[in-house]
Structure formats: structure tokens, C-alpha cells
């Protein structure tokens, strides 16, 4: 009895520490965004007690860069959501194929290695060729080029992660449905996918985060109309130094949609929403 109480306390302490660790930079960004420019380099944490908070940074952002920030948010959302969804759909299908079927011409192992190897190439190496491709497609400064670039670049993630998830789902369930005359696609849709919900959500979140934070392609492939949030953030540095206060405001703005999204979908990371029947009679 006592041991489990100690365990509980230790768990709580650890959780709280981990929480503080995770949240501290956000807290810092938030408080700094309310600091006057002179206070940025001062070691002050607590508003009202240690420094005089001011709204001027936020007001300036809204007044001067409001339209650019909103544009960046819009483009980032479109590019990230679309590419993440595409990654999960296409990557999920590919991952499923690699988990369930045997390929003769090129072994599964080699295809998996190929997917891994797509991650080896640093984006810089392909940035200029990508620019050329999209220039010839007339897609420069267009969100679509970002969607395509992100999908292509991040699909290996979803493929590989989902392959593992699908592997973890017992084959017997699918085979019994096959025997019952269900089509492959039907099985995939009605049995496998619901069971893989946590994995799908995980892959979606990861691909979304990658696309949301991606900087290099967004920089190279866009001029102004398709500019994304990371580029807007980078615009806070100029010949007179870094506007740390704007970095903070923009970081907070940039983090809000993904966190909101994560909040909404995190419940599906829990397996509890799956069909009870599948896991056998309990």
C-alpha cells in the first residue's frame, strides 16, 4: 500500500517537473511578449511584480504586421493540414501494403529502406531543383507548391510509422473477415483503420508539425502570397538586430493553432475509442 503511494507521489513529481520543463519556454515567450523593449534582456519572470507589462508589442504587431501574420497563418494552416491529411492517407495505404503484403519484385525490406533513405537527403540539396520544377509548373508563390513539397517530403514518416502500427494489429482479425467474404479495401476501412486510430492520429500530428514548422522550402518557394508563419517569424531579424519581442509574439501566435489541433485530436490517441469487440471478450 505504501509503495504504491510513494510511486504515485514520485509519478506526480516527475510529471510536474516534465510539465514545467515543457512549458517554460512558452511561459518565457509569453511574458517577454509583454515586456517593453528595454526589459527583454533583463532576468524578470513575473509580470506586475518584477516588471511592468505592456501591450505595445501586441498592438504594434496587429497594427503593422497584422495582415502579414494572418496571411502566414492562413497559408500555414492550408499547407500543413492538407499535406498532413495526404501524408496519412497515402502513407497509410503504403504502410499497410508493406505491413500486410509481400512484394516479390522488390523485397519489402528494400522498399522500407528506400522510404527511410528519403529522409537522408537534406532539404537544401533539393531546394533549388524544387524551385525549378515549380517555376516550370507556374506554381511559385503558390500554396499548392508547398502542399506538394511537404507531402512528398514527409510521407516517408507516415508510411514508416503506420507500417509499425499496422503490424501491431493482429492479422487474425483481418483474416477472419476475409473468410467471411469481406473485400480487402473493406477490411482496411472497417477493421484496420479504426484499430489503428492512435497511430493515424500520431502520424497526422507529426506530419502536421513538420509542415507547420518547415522553413527552407517556404522561404525558397514563396515570395509573398504564399508566405508561411516560419518565414514571417524569421522576418523579425533585420540589420538592426533581432526584434526579440516580435519573435515572442509571433511564436505564441504560431504555436496556438497546432496546440489547439493537438488538444482536439489527442483524445483519439487513446485506444479506448476502438471497437470493444475486437479486443476480445474482457
Amino acid at each position: 500500500m505504501r509503495r504504491s503511494v510513494t510511486k504515485k507521489i514520485l509519478t506526480y513529481i516527475f510529471v510536474i517537473l516534465a510539465g514545467i520543463w515543457a512549458i517554460f519556454p512558452f511561459y518565457w515567450a509569453l511574458t517577454t511578449s509583454f515586456k517593453s523593449k528595454a526589459d527583454v534582456f533583463k532576468p524578470v519572470f513575473i509580470p506586475f511584480i518584477q516588471f511592468e507589462p505592456t501591450l505595445e508589442n501586441w498592438i504594434n504587431e496587429a497594427r503593422l504586421r497584422g495582415d502579414v501574420i494572418l496571411l502566414g497563418l492562413r497559408n500555414s494552416l492550408i499547407a500543413s493540414l492538407t499535406s498532413a491529411i495526404l501524408c496519412v492517407i497515402l502513407g497509410g495505404m503504403a504502410g499497410y501494403a508493406l505491413a500486410r503484403f509481400r512484394f516479390e519484385k522488390w523485397k519489402n525490406r528494400d522498399i522500407i529502406t528506400w522510404f527511410f533513405s528519403l529522409r537522408f537527403l537534406p532539404p537544401i540539396a533539393v531546394a533549388v531543383p524544387f524551385f525549378l520544377i515549380f517555376m516550370n509548373l507556374g506554381l511559385i508563390d503558390n500554396v499548392i507548391s508547398l502542399i506538394l513539397a511537404y507531402t512528398v517530403f514527409f510521407m516517408p514518416f507516415s508510411t514508416l510509422i503506420l507500417r509499425d502500427i499496422f503490424k501491431g494489429i493482429p492479422v487474425e482479425l483481418e483474416e477472419s473477415a476475409l473468410v467471411d467474404g469481406c473485400s480487402r479495401i473493406g477490411i482496411f476501412r472497417r477493421i484496420t483503420l479504426p484499430l489503428a486510430a492512435p497511430g493515424l492520429v500520431a502520424a497526422f500530428i507529426i506530419c502536421f508539425a513538420f509542415a507547420w514548422n518547415e522553413f527552407l522550402f517556404a522561404l525558397i518557394l514563396t515570395y509573398r502570397n504564399a508566405t508561411t508563419i516560419p518565414v514571417v517569424i524569421a522576418g523579425a531579424e533585420h540589420s538592426q538586430g533581432v526584434d526579440f519581442w516580435y519573435i515572442c509574439t509571433r511564436s505564441i501566435i504560431a504555436i496556438a493553432p497546432p496546440v489547439a489541433l493537438a488538444t482536439i485530436v489527442q483524445r483519439w490517441l487513446v485506444a479506448g475509442l476502438t471497437l470493444g469487440a475486437v479486443r476480445g471478450a474482457r
Partner: protein, 592 residues
């Protein structure tokens, strides 16, 4: 533990696909979504409100321009153009480009950024004047060079005009991506800017092989700044004289004097805040500005003054005849040694400082007695919200040296007064017209108009957030520039918001630096300049942190430079270098 969680799972599973959403969970999620939506809505609403209202900064000077339009002739160029001559004293003839759009690439920063603010400020006025459209595209600072080059090299050609750093000019000229503007300059239809109003170093940044490739604008230079309140404190002056045997130099004329001052003011509390202060502060972070600050120190030991740019005079980086790097000759080495000496009198952390923390330390915290930095510092010092040194700033041209290394005789040449090397320029931001520009005339009009005297004066005083530094004739009050300047000190104070003493000190320093020096540091703008400077930057940093001695570091740098020159073709690079420095041409420092 397992049994408990298992039971919980069973409960959840019993719900099956009827997602068992507890009311509390639903409410909390809904609350979170609602809050995010509200916040987003508020931000959008506020943003929309402010975007709707005027975005022009508070200080605006309205000028009424009376133009008598007399249509002399209609000249058909690429578009029908109406030429008007005005009998008034307005120096800008009106010329219109109906339907044209000029796309300008500049450093990001929005309506209050250092360079973008100028464009936003003048956008409406210029558009009304020329009936053309101005399209401003902002690029994050660190990527300006890359984006402009990519746009040019791939033929995308989105940018018509770019405000670039002089290091980029070589690549652009050599690749044929920018057009010379000499013909435009002679054309009377366009706004006139006087090349003689510009300091010599700035001119040389913008020209290549004798041709003008851009319209100069910014004159960002490095000046020495120090605290008036410390220097005028009789107690401190007395102590200094006791310790060093000579009067506290005001201003310090050599780097040795600077070193003495820095050492004197280092490590004790001279501003009464209970904590020790430092002699100086500087931004010495690698990959940032350290190499500029190094060149500011090293130049005076290395550049031999002379009437023309020849092999042994007025060059710094390479021997123009052999393309041998000169970076490891005794001049630059002594400069690095001095920089290392100086770095001991500031906070250790400055080895990792970009300009932001350094300016903060000098201006906002006021914890350093002196520094040498860009022309932005005095402006920042005037902002009461960010500065504790308003009215306490003194500026001076960069110190010089009694000895300059003479490569001709291979020894130090002594002078009876300190030789000052005119200026180390930053990027000397200026406008270039790209080859792919759709309407080159409209593009040139914009550039020239922005550098016309009226606009230039506003650029350095009125425009809030402007990062453009003074250096043109229009900026200097005549009393501070031996009668040559055409500016107005009163306006610096009333319109620019400068403290009178700060303004006087600063403007005098700029004038002396640009127009009363003995020589100047030639700007490296050959193709490959970024790579050469990166190598210098890295090796200086190694010496600063003690990993190498100054000589080792600069020898390694010279090796790098040799390699880079070889790889790019020595003969070709030599030719470009000679073109870029105006080899064989006379230098003209005094204003005409």
C-alpha cells in the same frame, strides 16, 4: 495497476463506437476551442481594425508641391510618357509610368523595419507622383542574398529592384543580372541625385569598373561611441591622468588610447548602480558582425594612404597585381591583436553577442563606457523607452594609428599624426535594377527619387524605425561640415528627436570620418565575397576564444583565401578585384 487500468479500458470499450464523451471532457475541450477561437477572433479583429486605419507613422511632413504642367512633347518609350517642365524650384521633374508596376525586394521588417519602412513611407507619394504601382516584397534578413540571387539565376525574375548589401554586387554584376544606370543618370527626365554628395567609400561600393550599378542610399558606417558623462567627469579625468600620465583623450585618437580608456573604466561602479561596469562592449559572435568590428580596428594599421589606388596604397584585402591575400600581413595581425586586447575589457558573454545584446548593453543598460558600432546607435539612444544615455552620447570617427604597415618597404611607416582609415562600411544598402525588370525606367525613377535630397533627409530623421544612416551632403548642417553640408541641425532636433549635443557630436563624427580621413577601407565585393568574409569571421573568432594565436588564425585565413581564389580562377578573380576597387583611379575624399 494493470487491473485498474484494465477495468477503465473495459468501461471505455463498452461504449464502443458511441464515443463515451464525459460531459466534463466535452466542456473542457469546447472551452479550449472556444478560447482559441476568441483569441484568434480578437487578434483578427484588432488587426483588421488597425489595418483599416492608417498605417502611416505618426510623424508626417506634408509638402505642397505646385507644379505647372507644360506639355513640351510626348516621348514614346515603352509606355506613353508625359514630360513636364516646371518653372518652380522643384528639382524633380514629373514623369509618369501609367500602368507599370515596380517590384522591390527589401529586407523584411514591415512598416517600421530599418529599410522596409522607407519604402512603405514613400509608397503612396511615389505612386501618386508617377501613376505606377509599387510592390514591396520583404525577405528575411539572413536570406536576402540567396533569394535575390536565386531569383536572378533561375530566371524567375520576380524582382525588378532590390535593396542589396554591397557584398552581393559582385555576383550580380559578373553574372550580368543587374544593369548599369549611367545612362539614366544623365537623362534629365529622372530625379537628380548628385554623385558628389556621396562619400567616396559609398561611391566605390556602388560602382564597378567605373560604371554605376546602383543608386546609393545608405551610408552605414562604424563610429566610436563613448559616454559624455564619464568623459566630462572631473574626478574620473583626474584619476585617469594619474594612472596613465596623459589627459583622458576626448576623443581617443588611436586604438591604444581606446585600450587605455577601456581598461580604466572596466570593473568598477562608475554609474552608481551598485554593480561594476565594463570598459566596453561589442558584438563578437561568429556568423554575425564580428568581422566588421574587426575590420574597423584593423583598417588603420593596414591601409596606406595615397593619391590613387595602386598596388601599395589604398588596398586592404589582396595585392592587386598578384592576388595574394594580404590578410596575414603585419597590419591586419596587429589589428587582431588589438581586438583581442580590447575584448578583455568587456563582458565575457560578448563573444556570443549579436548586435542586439550589445546595443542593449550600451544603450539600454548603459553598462559600458565605450563601443564602436553602426550609425543606428545614436538613433536608438534617443528613444527614451530604450535608452538611458540620451544626452550622454559622444561620437567620434574611428581611431587611427601612428604606424601603418608599408608593403613597399616591408616595414612600419611612422607618421607624426594618427592616420585614420575613413570608413568601414556595413552593407551600404543600395538599390539595384535587375536585368529582368519589366519597366526599367520606372524602376530607375523609384531608386533615384528615393535618393533625391528631400527624401534622403526624411529617411534619416523622420521615418520611424528607419535604419538608414546619414552620409549625404543633405544630412550635414553646414556648421558641422566646414560649410559644405546643406542640412539643418534644427530639424535633426525637432523632427528627428535628437538631443542637441548628441546630434552635434554624431554628425560631426560622421562628417570627419567620411570626408576628413586619410584613406578608406575598400569594400570587398568580388564574387565569392561572402565566402571570403565567412572564412575571416570564423578565424577571427578562433583567435578571440584563444584557440589560435592571431598570426595562426590569419595565416589560416590567408590559406583559405588562396584556396578560394584558386578555385574560382585566379586570373579572373584578379581582373574582377581590380575592377571592383577602381584600380588605378584616383581617390577623392575631400568633398567638392
Amino acid at each position: 495497476m494493470n487491473a485498474a487500468s484494465k477495468n477503465k479500458r473495459m468501461d471505455n470499450n463498452k461504449g464502443g463506437l458511441n464515443k463515451k464523451i464525459s460531459r466534463r471532457k466535452a466542456l473542457s475541450t469546447a472551452a479550449k476551442v472556444a478560447i482559441s477561437a476568441v483569441v484568434a477572433g480578437v487578434v483578427a479583429g484588432v488587426g483588421g481594425y488597425f489595418a483599416g486605419s492608417t498605417t502611416a507613422p505618426a510623424k508626417t511632413i506634408r509638402e505642397t508641391v505646385t507644379v505647372k504642367e507644360t506639355v513640351k512633347e510626348t516621348v514614346t518609350v515603352t509606355q506613353p510618357v508625359t514630360v513636364v517642365t516646371t518653372p518652380t524650384t522643384i528639382t524633380t521633374p514629373a514623369i509618369t509610368f501609367e500602368g507599370a508596376t515596380v517590384t522591390v525586394a527589401c529586407m523584411a521588417g514591415g512598416p517600421e523595419g530599418p529599410h522596409s519602412s522607407v519604402l512603405y513611407y514613400f509608397k503612396d507619394e511615389w505612386e501618386k507622383l508617377t501613376k505606377a504601382k509599387l510592390n514591396i516584397i520583404e525577405i528575411p534578413f539572413g536570406e536576402l542574398h540567396e533569394k535575390v540571387l536565386t531569383d536572378a539565376v533561375t530566371g524567375a525574375g520576380v524582382y525588378d529592384v532590390a535593396k542589396i548589401c554591397a557584398t552581393s554586387l559582385g555576383d550580380l554584376v559578373v553574372g550580368g543580372y543587374v544593369i548599369p544606370v549611367d545612362d539614366f543618370m544623365k537623362d534629365p527626365r529622372f530625379p537628380k541625385w548628385n554623385p558628389d554628395d556621396v562619400p567616396e567609400p559609398v561611391k566605390r561600393c556602388v560602382t564597378w569598373g567605373g560604371k554605376w550599378y546602383g543608386v546609393p542610399n545608405d551610408c552605414d558606417g562604424i563610429y566610436l561611441y563613448y559616454r559624455r558623462d564619464l568623459w566630462e567627469n572631473p574626478e574620473y579625468r583626474r584619476k585617469f591622468k594619474e594612472k596613465y600620465g596623459y589627459e583622458l583623450p576626448d576623443p581617443p585618437k588611436t586604438w591604444d588610447e581606446v585600450r587605455d580608456c577601456a581598461e580604466f573604466f572596466n570593473g568598477w561602479d562608475w554609474n552608481g548602480d551598485g554593480e561594476p561596469e565594463y570598459g566596453l562592449c561589442q558584438s563578437l559572435k561568429v556568423g554575425a558582425q564580428a568581422w566588421f568590428k574587426y575590420l574597423a580596428v584593423a583598417a588603420c594599421y593596414s591601409v596606406m594612404p595615397g593619391p590613387i589606388v595602386d598596388r601599395y596604397h589604398n588596398v586592404f584585402h589582396f595585392d592587386p597585381e598578384t592576388m595574394e591575400p594580404l590578410i596575414n600581413t603585419p597590419g591586419p595581425i596587429r589589428g587582431l591583436e588589438m581586438l583581442i586586447k580590447l575584448s578583455k575589457y568587456g563582458p565575457e558573454a560578448m563573444l556570443g553577442w549579436d548586435i542586439g545584446p550589445s546595443w542593449d548593453f550600451f544603450v539600454t543598460k548603459g553598462k559600458a563606457a565605450l563601443t564602436w558600432d553602426w550609425g543606428d546607435v545614436p538613433r536608438m539612444a534617443q528613444d527614451p523607452k530604450r535608452s538611458v544615455i540620451k544626452g550622454k552620447l559622444k561620437a567620434a570617427p574611428l581611431p587611427g594609428s601612428f604606424e601603418v604597415w608599408d608593403r613597399e618597404t616591408n616595414q612600419w611607416k611612422k607618421f607624426d599624426r594618427p592616420i585614420r582609415c575613413g570608413n568601414v562600411l556595413g552593407c551600404d544598402w543600395f538599390y539595384v535594377i535587375l536585368k529582368h525588370a519589366k519597366n526599367k525606367e520606372a524602376a530607375y525613377h523609384l531608386c533615384a527619387w528615393l535618393s533625391a535630397p528631400e527624401q534622403l533627409f526624411k529617411t534619416v530623421t523622420v521615418i520611424w524605425g528607419s535604419g538608414v544612416d546619414p552620409g549625404w551632403r543633405i544630412h550635414f548642417p553646414p556648421e558641422l561640415s566646414d560649410g559644405w553640408g546643406t542640412g539643418n541641425l534644427k530639424e535633426w532636433i525637432t523632427v528627428g528627436g535628437y538631443d542637441e549635443n548628441d546630434a552635434k557630436s554624431f554628425l560631426r563624427a560622421v562628417y570627419e570620418q567620411y570626408f576628413k580621413s586619410d584613406t578608406f577601407l575598400e569594400y570587398l565585393k568580388i564574387p565569392g565575397a561572402p565566402e571570403l568574409m565567412d572564412s575571416l569571421d570564423v578565424h577571427i573568432n578562433e583567435a578571440l576564444v584563444g584557440k589560435k594565436t592571431p598570426k595562426e588564425a590569419l595565416d589560416a585565413c590567408a590559406e583559405d583565401w588562396k584556396r578560394i581564389i584558386e578555385e574560382r580562377g585566379k586570373e579572373q578573380m584578379k581582373k574582377w578585384y581590380q575592377e571592383s576597387i577602381g584600380y588605378g583611379l584616383p581617390i577623392k575624399i575631400r568633398p567638392t
